[in-house]
Symmetry: C2
Subunit: 409 residues, 2 copies
Amino acid sequence: MWEQCLDRMLLGFVAVGSLDVTFPDGRTRRYGPAPGAPEAALVLSDPALPRRLVTAPELGLGEAYMDGSLTIAGDDLDGFLALVTRNMAATTGLWWRRLMLAARLARRRFDQANPLHRARANVAHHYDLSGALYDLFLDADRQYSCAYFADPAMTLEAAQAAKKRHIAAKLLIEPGMTVFEIGCGWGGLALSLARDHGARVTAVTLSREQHRYATDRAAAAGLSDRVDFRLIDYRQVTGQFDRIVSVGMFEHVGIPHYREYFDTLHDRLAPDGVALVHTIGRAGPPGATSPWITKYIFPGGYCPSLSEIAAALETSGLFPTDIEVWRLHYAETLKHWHDRFTARLDAARALYDDKFCRMWRFYLKASEHMFRHGGQCVFQYQLARDQRAVPLTRDYLYPAPDTAPRAAG
Amino acid sequence: MWEQCLDRMLLGFVAVGSLDVTFPDGRTRRYGPAPGAPEAALVLSDPALPRRLVTAPELGLGEAYMDGSLTIAGDDLDGFLALVTRNMAATTGLWWRRLMLAARLARRRFDQANPLHRARANVAHHYDLSGALYDLFLDADRQYSCAYFADPAMTLEAAQAAKKRHIAAKLLIEPGMTVFEIGCGWGGLALSLARDHGARVTAVTLSREQHRYATDRAAAAGLSDRVDFRLIDYRQVTGQFDRIVSVGMFEHVGIPHYREYFDTLHDRLAPDGVALVHTIGRAGPPGATSPWITKYIFPGGYCPSLSEIAAALETSGLFPTDIEVWRLHYAETLKHWHDRFTARLDAARALYDDKFCRMWRFYLKASEHMFRHGGQCVFQYQLARDQRAVPLTRDYLYPAPDTAPRAAG
């Protein structure tokens, strides 16, 4: 009975491309309109799997890949997840997809309620993993957010450096300015703002691992007097700053806390200050986080739509002075991360077990395809309390190559 | 009794600067915290005016200025309206301001219901005014939307030309492409896209005056085979276009029609197409149009907040690829228009009566200060059906001066 249900679901779901599925009883069936060889082939080896995939498709799929009860021919995770995300985008109108979305929308506010103690636990779940794990796939600066691929042929290192320069340019940063960084990761951006731009930075994280690592880096670089890494919730910081920057942290805030976030930005920003919020978002309407991502990767996390950000932003008193939409940059970034991780699988297996490594690859590859086919993107909101705090046009972000300060970087 | 009420209101309202008011009985009172000479001085000469200003502040103020029962010392409309808009921004928390806003929000959907026949009537109200009137204050190309002041010292003509170039650059327009322009005014942008960029343009307006004028211009320029000006609602156009552009028309759509607008854009846009929507907006939360503006200037009009645009946009299937926020450009534009109009008041009085001329100056000057102090701005939404339709970064909009095609313009 559950095999029949799954068969029905797949008949509706595979609207583009084609997919072979071998069921636990050994039968193979092809789904999808595309002729020729299928773009991916699955083998379901556990008789309990059809029921699991019908009742909890996303969670069941990710878990079955993790525990090995679902395998992909040639382990072609890339081809399979590209096919899945393309069909997720093509079949939002299916009745069971709509039902799933409605159910998830109903519980969003619970999933994303992140008071201080829960915010700490959520952060520890992901960012307190071994630093050695992150070294396996990130660049040496441990930039764990979307890089800026002005040219798709750039190396990951060059694209991450370009991201930091682009953010510094948007912040219109000058020597001696005070900067508040909300969610500083392992400290790369804060150290760069101090070292390369002469800023005095107060940077917060809730991850003990990140805080320890960043503090050590500041000491080693002789920047401890100019960068103050603090293990504290951003809502507990007081005072005002010339600049505020927050990269890849808003995804962890949770919808019930959006107003609190922007109101805090407003209150911490000097009257003539400039802030930059860099966050993953979705081009489409409000949605919900995949339950697999919530359970295994980012508890409490969510990628907001434009309207959800705007509704909280526009009551804060902050003036949105520019909204850039980065498309495909994160797909390229995640592809680099996935390929680096996969090239060092043996080293990864020495840190964590095989199931964890499959989980990590699934996370990186599924995320990549959400940016290629699933309507995910990155929003960069430049904000000010006074609309006169930034130049009238955006030319200053794009200086001529021969005169550009960034050409020297 | 009404004088006492007005006195109370003014005591709360003038929170910044200072204002002298001479009441109909001859008494003068000073309001506001600023010491020294008042920034503006009002004389109320009609005993019925205090009641009118208490019960309908914005409508009463505009009408009293129009009919001369309220005069401003030195006719300093600029100083007075700067003071008013600064205080409107500073006193949104006053109980009677909140009450007024709530009442207006409640009737927005009625005020802004613009089915075809009403859309036509609303357009005729404003845009079918004598062309000679518009020649008194617009540039020779009759650009009746925000100019782009890359340098505040630019002339109006240069800033309007820069606006058209910036829009053409965002449209990534190439010779032979088809363009659908929604709300073409007197045809300046459509003619430029055809003449300077080789496009084939279908441009619609609901104004008979604009349609006649634009059609004559196309014939005179020998562009009738490449620009088709049509007197038709944009919702009645069929087919698909490589590019869609809509400048200063979204303000007339009305909130109940936002989804219809973006869904139409989606359906009229080619799968690899690019669209640009240029509209006045507000940096703050949803609000309501001033009843004076609704009655005398733009019936059915509204300047949306980011969240109101986004909510309709994100269900359309269009991908927002860039959102630029123009600040203060429209203040400069309106200042030029006001000063040109005022310099030619005698010619204006030959066309329309004195009351009309005072109305027009009040409209231009109040609008200018809404952009300086009232949180109004211009949003330029670049949209695509496929996120790959535009380059990965925005550098293409800001070419180096020595290599820029626009330097030749």
